[in-house]
């Protein structure tokens, strides 16, 4: 009797456990699966319940799927911090994170991520947004399998967007070159030779050398390479312009303080640094709007660096008129103080400045040429700053006074120009422009206590090479040095290119002792 009941209970328990195992959803297994297990798990999941599975794929890609360590329960978390809200994945119930360490993200590695993207791409071929469809085909193009080629073929017929159609045709041509009849293959080669993409080129490269189509494929590759090389040259030019615009931006403030006022401002780099730190601070204040923060940073950085500059001028440089070389000494001291100041306030670590959405990525002109957006903005910004400054100095009354003081101080004073005031404003202007350069540089490079030192020498080179006291000289010098550097880099390497440019500057100055655009007249006798 007791035997019988106990065995019945045993049976029941066994049945229940079995049921529970059977009820175990993919969701329960996801937490502790290895990367390859996750892949098979999702594959089977898609077959059984594609909509839930795809939403999981999206969550995994976004990194929002977490699990509770001791129960393996899946939860959704936006901010992984103690006290933040969470949502149960299965029930949709809201809760809070009691302890940050109790939850862990469901991990994804590169291989799995590629698989997830491909999975998602396959589902997105029918998306309403043409941009999504385009990126979906693009994703498949990366590693084209016969299955997704078939899928592309299926959706090709109903596709209306011309860009998507183009890309789909390319994918189909690559597929036909691989699996089509000889006639189809020949046709495919002709289609591929028209393309600029690396995928087309790689597909043509894969044609075996002993195939009857080999020579046709070879000429196709040559045609692609030839056109790509032309774009490569444009790209190099763009790189040079971009480097040049950075040099101009860094140097143009110095062209004012050094070129117009004759002050050797060794703290110039640190004024750039202050501009970059201002950007960082404003982004901290507006964490959710990096783009807005960046725009607000422009006037703020101008003010911060400009005011510090005016402070330096009024506090130190004013007392050193007529002793330009001693300004070097004093401003070197100031640069040390500023460096240590940011180190003390912001720690010696680099600070992270976020690139806003609209500056990220690149502008794809075609498959062979795309221009990085952040640098495109910097080039544009550099030109704007340059022309505004030029107008200010040439057209405004302040500009007139600045030029008057720089050409003949006594005479200007005699004419009623308040030279002390003009000096302070000029120095403030030059310093403020350095601050603007800092905002731009924060989008390209480090924001840290050492950043100023990285630019000070280059800035002096640019200003001197262009001819002291000449804004146009600074522009031409900066851009041409940038381009020269980038033209040399492919065959000389980055280091040697830089050395060669420096040697060139030394030799050039020795031939033309006053730079590209020498100052004429009395001012040149300084």
């Amino acid at each position: 009797m007791s035997n019988w009941t106990s065995s019945l209970i045993g049976l029941l328990v066994g049945l229940l456990t079995a049921l529970q195992v059977g009820a175990s959803t993919p969701a329960d297994q996801l937490a502790n699966a290895s990367f390859s297990e996750k892949q098979t798990l999702i594959q089977t999941w898609i077959e059984s319940d594609s909509s839930t599975a795809l939403s999981v794929v999206q969550l995994l890609l976004d990194g929002r799927l977490y699990y509770e360590k001791n129960t393996n329960r899946l939860v959704l978390i936006d901010t992984h911090k103690t006290g933040q809200p969470l949502t149960d994945f299965a029930t949709g119930q809201a809760g809070t994170i009691e302890k940050k360490r109790a939850y862990k993200r469901v991990s994804v590695n590169n291989t799995l991520r590629t698989f997830l993207r491909d999975t998602l791409a396959a589902a997105q071929l029918s998306d309403a947004d043409p941009a999504v469809r385009l990126s979906s085909v693009q994703q498949m193009l990366g590693d084209l399998t016969p299955e997704n080629a078939d899928q592309i073929a299926k959706f090709r017929a109903q596709e209306t967007d011309t860009d998507v159609v183009d890309l789909m045709d390319l994918a189909l041509a690559i597929d036909r070159l691989d699996r089509g009849t000889p006639a189809e293959q020949a046709q495919a080669i002709a289609r591929l030779a028209d393309s600029l993409t690396v995928e087309a080129m790689n597909a043509l490269r894969a044609v075996p050398a002993n195939s009857p189509l080999a020579s046709q494929a070879r000429s196709g590759i040559q045609s692609i390479e030839h056109r790509r090389n032309r774009y490569k040259a444009v790209e190099t030019l763009y790189f040079g312009l971009s480097l040049g615009s950075v040099l101009v931006l860094a140097g143009i403030g110095l062209a004012i303080t050094f070129g117009v006022m004759g002050v050797i401002n060794m703290a110039h780099g640190e004024l750039i640094m202050l501009g970059a730190y201002t950007t960082f601070v404003i982004q901290q204040i507006l964490p959710s709007q990096p783009g807005m923060a960046l725009l607000i940073s422009l006037p703020c950085a101008f003010m911060v660096s400009g005011l510090v500059g005016i402070g330096i001028q009024r506090g130190v440089i004013r007392f050193l008129t007529g002793r330009p070389l001693e300004t070097l000494l004093a401003t070197f001291g100031i640069s040390l103080i500023l460096q240590q100041a940011v180190r003390s306030i912001f720690s010696p670590l680099n600070r992270s400045v976020v690139t806003p959405e609209w500056m990220a990525g690149s502008w794809e002109i075609n498959a062979a040429l795309s221009l990085t957006l952040n640098r495109l903005y910097v080039i544009g910004f550099c030109l704007v700053v340059f022309f505004v400054l030029l107008t200010l100095l040439k057209r405004s009354s302040l500009g007139l006074q600045v030029r008057a003081v720089s050409q003949n101080r006594q005479m200007a004073q005699a004419m009623g120009v308040r030279s002390g005031w003009v000096d302070a404003l000029t120095f403030g202007l030059g310093s403020g422009v350095a601050g603007l350069a800092g905002v731009a540089l924060s989008q390209l490079t480090n924001v840290g206590p050492n950043m100023g030192q990285a630019y000070i020498i280059d800035s002096f080179m640019v200003v001197v090479f262009g001819g002291v006291g000449n804004l146009w000289g600074t522009l031409v010098a900066g851009l041409s040095l940038g381009i020269a550097n980038k033209l040399l880099e492919p065959w000389a390497g980055a280091v040697l290119a830089k050395i060669l440019v420096l040697v060139f500057i030394v030799l050039f100055i020795q031939k033309n002792p006053r730079g590209l655009f020498p100052q004429r007249g009395r001012a040149a006798e300084g």
Binding site: F35, G63, H80, R101, R105, S107, V108, N109, N110, T111, R113, T114, R117, G142, V198, M201, N202, A206, E235, T236, F239, S242, L243, V246, R343, S347, P348, L349, N350, R351, S352, V353, V354, T355, A360, G361, S362, S370, T372, L373, N374, R375, Q443, L444, T445, N446, V447, G448, P449, N450, Q453, A454, N485, K486, E489, P490, G493, A494, V495, K498
Partner: protein, 429 residues
Amino acid sequence: MFPIAGKKTLRILPIALATALSNAALAADTIKVGVLHSLSGTMAISETTLKDTMLMLIEEQNKKGGLLGKQLEAVVVDPASNWPLFAEKARELVEKDGVDAIFGCWTSVSRKSVLPVIEELDSLLFYPVQYEGEESSKNVFYTGAAPNQQAIPAVDYLMEQGVKRWVLAGTDYVYPRTTNKILEAYLKANGVAESDIMINYTPFGHSDWQSIVSDIKGFGAEGKKTAVVSTINGDANVPFYKELGAQGVNADDIPVIAFSVGEEELSGMDTAPLVGHLAAWNYFMSAESESNDEFIDAWHAYTGDEDRVTNDPMEAHYIGFNMWVEAVKKAQSTEPGAVQDAIIGVSVPNLTGGLSSMMPNHHISKPVLIGEIQDDGQFEIVSETPGLVVGDAWSDYLPGSKDLISDWRAPLSCGAYDVVSAKCSGQEL
């Protein structure tokens, strides 16, 4: 008037130094530990944290009652990222302040600068940073990774992931040069063709990566899975990763695995475009172990900042310091010679949940972890060596050093022993 002033000034210098000496004698009731990390100049960015780590470790040890019944006292100096100054400060720490061990240095050149001084004065240096190997000094303990504890497992992992083409990009100095040399030999031994390896060097602080990233893109567009092994140093990393992001090189297409980018470097970067790029270290802040949780809590409490991250060189100091403490207890003395003998074989917990031991070649055993960058600036550990890897002072992949071994135990007691010619070189005995 002036001769008098002259004599006075002349005397001040030696007297100041002599006073400092007698101060050292007075304060002999504490055990002094030197901390030799740059707090200003270009290296302050990395080294300041290590100084704070040491201060924290020393403070904790003192709370536990100190060592041999005495309190520990940290002597902090600033070698200011200036290599000759490193040697000068090391000498001062030992001769003037009378420290029993120095924890310090980051760059190889700073270690090379300090090395002759430490050897001459027969003191101890614990060096916490991954380095190129090819060195084993009686007086130095290398708690960071040797190339076989970082580079080779990293490449193994990528090979498993199907990478066939390799870009070895580095800053032009000895660590990347050596690491790349070792990797090149290793890759070729694993059947990678010469044409599938691209090597590129850039100067320190290189900030314009446009051409190089474009070249990498071109190199990776030939249809074979490509990866970049980066030994790019310090400040050059931020513009490098920014350019990668801008030119749309993401980790699915061309993953970059770095040996010098850790949590602290990431804290200065916009990590959103970097998700999936990798790093190889012996420790990640995301490692799950109790000792790690405690260490992170202590670090947050010490710095008063919940957002401060921990990183691999910090763990190296943690291990190194605890090993030194254990060795001092074992030897019942802080005398460097006694500690040198006692420390070999000492095992202490590391922060990834295991035990690390000091090997006879003055390197330590550690696990090797591969992590992928996450958008929160942390690493997701995607691979871990099954056991501990023992640091190799002399690489087996370099022709000059493949026959060399290092063993500081008697009777061999040699840092560079040639097993073929049975000769010990580089030693002044």
